[in-house]
């Protein structure tokens, strides 16, 4: 079953409402907010690679509020244990039985703040939840809820006391982006409302969680022409053959790009994907999946630059018969 134009229009309208609501908190960051909801509605997770104080927590909280959902924030520290995230089983003397106490991961939107400050063991525990959507403790499986999204933030790896995320686990984030500092006008607007504490700002709920689940299911039905599949395949191939890249984009990355492009197209009111959807998402979806050659990194080459170069060199499809 394929999404209809009417469904696409409704999808775009709902998304605009969500984005508009969150934008009241995160001023001047339409692109990031839209990307975050694209990841959310694509049932993926978002990695924000940013310095402190750019609004990461505000974003997560506003998103959770906008969808009538729950949100938790976990501050990752070096001494954080996996159980601190997933929850623990405690013996209840009154009932004489072990009782599971859910951790902060049991929420619709989880903000894993400074994930690279935790030990790899703890990171892995979270990433396992991200992949499977459930927590298994003492043989018991506990679904974390639906919809479920992790917005992880990490400080630049150059900062002291951080553990770089393993490449295989980076692959589990649908997108990586950064909020960045606001522009001049937005900064002034933020300063004008400085007397109001960030957590006091409330976002009116726009949709129920069930509607989000329905939108995500609807996004999966967006039509993708074979030429788009061919285009994505060529892009991925190009990342693997580029000299500066040690490890190119995996098949999981290609699937993620298609999935995100579908949501992006629906968010634009289209029931079909066009090459522009792929181009718009290629950098946030693919860049963090590349492992660059050490020499190239030393020369200052970045994954984003490489993706941009690949996009320039790979011709997009312009006709149905191109494959």
């Amino acid at each position: 079953m394929t999404m209809t134009p009417d469904e696409a229009a409704r999808f775009a309208s709902n998304l605009d409402r969500l984005v508009g609501a969150v934008e009241t908190v995160l001023l001047g960051k339409n692109r990031v907010v839209r990307l975050a909801f694209t990841a959310f509605l694509s049932e993926g997770h978002l990695l924000l690679d940013d310095v402190p104080g750019t609004g990461k927590t505000s974003l997560a909280r506003a998103m959770a509020q906008s969808v009538h959902g729950t949100s938790n924030r976990v501050q990752f520290t070096p001494d954080l244990l996996p159980g601190d995230i997933t929850g623990v089983t405690v013996y209840d003397q009154r009932s004489g039985a072990f009782e599971f106490h859910p951790g902060p991961v049991f929420a619709n939107i989880v903000l894993a703040d400074e994930i690279n400050r935790a030990s790899p063991k703890t990171q892995s525990a979270l990433l396992e939840v991200m992949e499977e959507g459930q927590v298994t403790v003492d043989g018991q499986t506990h679904p974390v809820g639906h919809p479920f999204m992790v917005i992880a933030t990490q400080n630049p790896v150059e900062q002291a006391g951080t553990y770089r995320l393993p490449e295989a686990q980076l692959d589990r984030f649908l997108m990586r982006t950064s909020i960045g500092y606001p522009d001049h006008a937005s900064t002034i607007r933020i300063l004008e409302g400085a007397d109001q504490r960030a957590h006091d700002v409330q976002v009116e709920p726009q949709l129920h969680a069930a509607e989000i689940v329905q939108m995500a299911a609807s996004a999966r039905t967006v039509h993708v022409d074979p030429t788009i599949h061919d285009y994505v395949s060529r892009l991925v191939d190009a990342t693997r053959t580029t000299r500066e890249v040690r490890l190119g984009v995996s098949v999981r990355g290609a699937l993620a790009l298609i999935r995100a492009a579908k949501t992006h197209a629906a968010g634009r009111g289209r029931h079909y994907v066009v090459p522009d959807d792929v181009k718009a998402l290629a950098e946030p979806v693919l860049a963090h999946r590349l492992i660059l050659d050490a020499e190239a990194e030393f020369d200052g080459v970045t994954a984003s630059n490489l993706i941009a170069q690949v996009l320039i060199e790979t011709p997009p499809p312009s006709s149905r018969q191109a494959v």
């Binding site: 394929t2 039509h223 022409d225 030429t227 788009i228 289209r270 029931h271 079909y272 994907v273 066009v274 090459p275 522009d276 181009k279 996009l311 320039i312 060199e313 790979t314 011709p315 997009p316 499809p317 312009s318 006709s319 149905r320 018969q321 191109a322 494959v323």
Partner: protein, 805 residues
């Protein structure tokens, strides 16, 4: 067509499929039956163009047959080798077999049994000619027809070139190089060909056309091999290549036309001109220089030649002399400065079809004659030598067809004999009506003033050239007296024909000289009148009244029954040493050379007058003398020998109109040629738009509409990036309308269900509107520049379309 069918030449299982689908591997050009046929046709065109320079060497149907057989055989072997994936040694063996089997009937047809089957002698000749015919070819007079085995060089080279071209085209990864064998064949044809460049531009242009066609064909096939493009894109890509090719051709045509008009015509340096000629006439004394020796009383009666079949009144020419340096009249040198000095070996016969005159056959037996010149009559068609040295003489015989002079380097000697078939010259019965011909003879010194005064006295410039020439001949006949200056002559006569002697002849009273002086003086005066003139030294038939030279024997044996030649006299003419004579030949307007004898009849010479009266002459003419001719080539532009002819007003006006029309026509032609590349660009864009708009499917029409818009924007200078999406291109142009159009096109291309009815028409209307908006704010010059811009046909289009898969 599967990859296996395309590529696996070696697999036997794929053979049948390859036959159906084409020949050769994926690396060549034979990817389908249709492309194979086109490729073969273009290769044939290349080879045919390469054979054009060979044509002037042969000019015979036998050459065409040999070339066709070689092309078919060579290409057949090449195709068979490609089809069966033969190793190179098998191809070579097949070529050798084809050469031996087909070489005799095609290249040595005279040795083929029934014209088809090779004979052992034919095969031997063929093999020998493979090594020996090359030098023979460049030292023989052209055209050679199918003489002996001289067709072997082009046959062999064409066979090899055909096989190599096909092999390269169908079996290598670089089919473009298939042009090379044809180029080498053409170069060989030029090097072994003729010195004049009558076919040079035609051959060059045809070869260029064929080469460009081949390169375009290879490019199109390469592009098709990459696949993955729509029919519209392929058609557009092919159209772009054809456009490029047409532009190249247009430039070449302009260049060739300019070269043809602007560059001077000159003889080419080819092997024929560089190879040492078999005969150097300057190494031998001019027969006119030793003219007087023939009248030595001690040897005057020596029988020189016995000739049978010589028509009455026709001289037996020994040599024709056209080069005069003021001292000696001689045959030109072999250095090419005079056409009379260029002697080449004679093939089996010469084609004298265009020569007017009577066919004559003479049989000559040599007695005391011992010179290198082979006496003959008119223009030679064929000569057969007899006697004990027949073979040596036949091999050493050389001929100059321009002057009709033959020679053997070893010289003739007593006992030699030959039979010559010729076209005898016309009788100058209408001398007064003659107009000068257009041939150019080597420049000569100014005639002495005394001779010019005599010319003015006899033939005023107001008269027609023919009348003046007739007056000159008549003048010599009237006042001239013959004396060879021998002891038997009553009046002394100085020998030689230098300018001072000619001046003396003009002023002597009475005028005394002999053929040596009269011929030279008449030739100089004829040239002064405007006639191309030359001196002939030969033997004249004595008057029968002399009673001692015409033997009246009946001819027998020498004449083949049924020969359509003038053999009516059937008498043997004995020519003695003192029958030597000199006369002149002048060329009339139709190109025929007419023999004129200025020698007065022998008669008693009056006493020399004691006082030399001044020659009474008419006043000097105000008309300038005709210009001297300086060019050598007989094919050159006509000399202006008709200055003195009055022109009527109508003719003058017609001439002016013709000149103006010619200038205007040439100007229009040149302008059209210069503008042709720009017109080609515009036509190509119109054609491109039409192809896009009339594409088969609605999606193609819609996508074509967007490409038309993007191409227009690119031509107007918008930086339409390669590998950009439609939306990005729309952003580059700016405005909402392009973005809307891009989204409409994207929906038609990528949405399920395709476009809706009428979408294509709406898109094209939108494209037209956008094109108008792009053009509106621009000046006419900017619009013209955009119209002829190659941006959308060049790199932008290439990278955008070509980069796709």
């Amino acid at each position: 067509m599967s990859a296996r069918q395309r590529g696996d030449v070696g697999a036997a299982a794929g053979t049948a499929a390859r036959v159906r689908a084409g020949i050769g591997s994926a690396s060549g050009v034979g990817r389908s039956a249709w492309s194979t046929a086109i490729s073969i046709a273009l290769l044939v065109l290349l080879l045919a163009a390469a054979l054009i320079p060979w044509w002037p060497v042969y000019e015979s149907t036998e050459f065409l047959v040999a070339a066709a057989v070689a092309v078919v055989a060579g290409m057949g072997v090449g195709l068979l080798g490609a089809w069966r994936a033969w190793p190179s040694w098998k191809v070579l063996v097949a070529l050798v077999a084809a050469f031996l089997l087909l070489g005799v009937p095609a290249a040595v047809p005279s040795r083929a049994y029934a014209g088809v089957l090779p004979t052992p002698q034919g095969v031997l000749d063929l093999i020998a000619a493979t090594a020996l015919s090359w030098k023979q070819l460049v030292t023989i007079a052209v055209p050679v027809g199918s003489y002996q085995a001289l067709l072997v060089p082009p046959f062999l080279l064409t066979l090899l070139a055909s096989a190599a071209a096909v092999t390269i085209a169908f079996r290598t990864r670089h089919p473009v190089v298939a042009v090379l064998p044809s180029a080498l064949l053409m170069a060989a044809g030029i090097l072994l060909g003729v010195v004049h460049d009558a076919f040079a531009i035609a051959a060059g242009l045809w070869f260029l056309v064929a080469t460009v066609a081949w390169l375009v064909n290879v490019a199109i096939l390469d592009r098709q091999a990459l696949g993955g493009r729509s029919a519209v894109e392929r058609a557009l890509g092919d159209a772009r290549r054809l456009l490029g090719a047409s532009a190249v051709l247009a430039v070449a045509l302009v260049g060739a036309s300019a070269a043809a008009f602007l560059t001077p015509v000159s003889a080419r340096t080819v092997v024929r001109s560089e190879v040492q000629q078999p005969f150097e006439p300057r190494a031998h004394e001019s027969p006119l220089a030793s003219f007087r020796a023939a009248f030595d009383p001690l040897a005057a009666d020596d029988v020189m030649l016995e000739v049978r079949g010589l028509p009455p009144g026709t001289g037996l020419a020994v040599a024709t002399l056209d080069t005069y340096d003021g001292i000696v009249y001689s045959v030109g040198g072999a250095d090419g400065t005079s056409v009379s000095g260029s002697f080449t070996r004679l093939p089996y016969r010469l084609d004298q079809t265009g020569v007017e005159g009577e066919p004559v056959r003479i049989s000559v037996e040599v007695a005391a004659y011992d010179d290198v010149w082979v006496p003959g009559v008119g223009q030679l068609e064929r000569i057969d030598f007899g006697g004990p040295r027949a073979e040596t003489l036949a091999d050493g015989f050389v001929y100059n067809d321009t002057t009709g002079t033959g020679a053997v380097a070893t010289g003739l000697a007593r006992g030699d004999a030959y039979t010559a078939w010729s076209i005898a010259m016309l009788d100058p019965s209408e001398l007064a009506e003659m107009q000068p011909g257009t041939s150019v003879v080597p420049a000569a010194p100014e005639p002495p003033p005394e001779l010019e005064e005599l010319l003015d006295a006899w033939a005023p410039v107001s008269e027609a050239p023919g009348q003046r020439l007739a007056a000159v001949i008549q003048g010599f006949h009237a006042i001239g007296y013959v004396s060879h200056g021998t002891t038997s002559d009553s009046v002394p006569s100085r020998s030689g024909h230098a300018l001072d002697r000619i001046a003396q002849l003009a002023t002597d009273q009475p005028m005394v000289g002999d053929g040596e002086q009269y011929a030279v003086a008449a030739a100089l005066m004829a040239r002064r009148i405007g006639f191309p003139a030359r001196v002939v030294v030969g033997y004249t038939v004595p008057e029968p009244a002399a009673g001692e030279t015409a033997s009246g024997e009946t001819a027998s044996g020498g004449a083949a029954a049924g020969d359509a030649v003038a053999d009516a006299t059937a008498t043997t003419t004995v020519l003695r040493r003192d029958d030597l004579q000199a006369w002149i030949e002048v060329q009339r307007a139709d190109g025929a050379w007419i023999a004129l004898d200025p020698n007065p009849d022998p008669r008693d010479i009056p006493e020399r007058e004691p006082d030399q009266p001044e020659i009474v002459s008419r006043p000097e003419s105000a008309l300038p003398p005709p210009p001297e001719r300086t060019q050598v080539d007989e094919n050159d532009s006509p000399a202006d020998g008709t200055d003195e002819r009055p022109q009527d007003d109508l003719g003058r006006w017609l001439g002016v109109l013709t000149t103006v029309a010619t200038i205007v026509g040439l100007s229009v032609l040149v302008l059209a040629l210069i503008a042709s590349p720009f017109l080609a660009v515009i036509v190509a864009k119109i054609r491109r738009r039409r192809v896009r708009r009339l594409a088969e499917s609605p999606v193609d029409r819609i996508e074509g509409g967007w490409q038309e818009f993007a191409d227009t924007a690119a031509d107007y200078g918008y930086p339409i990036r390669a590998n950009s999406t439609r939306a990005e291109q729309a952003v580059t142009v700016g405005g909402l309308a392009p973005l809307v159009l891009a989204s409409v096109v994207d929906r038609a291309v990528f949405a399920p269900g395709g476009p809706q009815d009428g979408d294509d028409e709406r898109v094209w209307r939108s494209v037209d509107e956008l094109q108008r908006r792009l053009a509106a704010p621009r000046t006419r010059r900017e619009r013209l520049r955009a119209a002829i811009s190659l941006t959308s046909l060049g790199g932008y289009a290439v990278s955008r379309r070509g980069g796709r898969r």
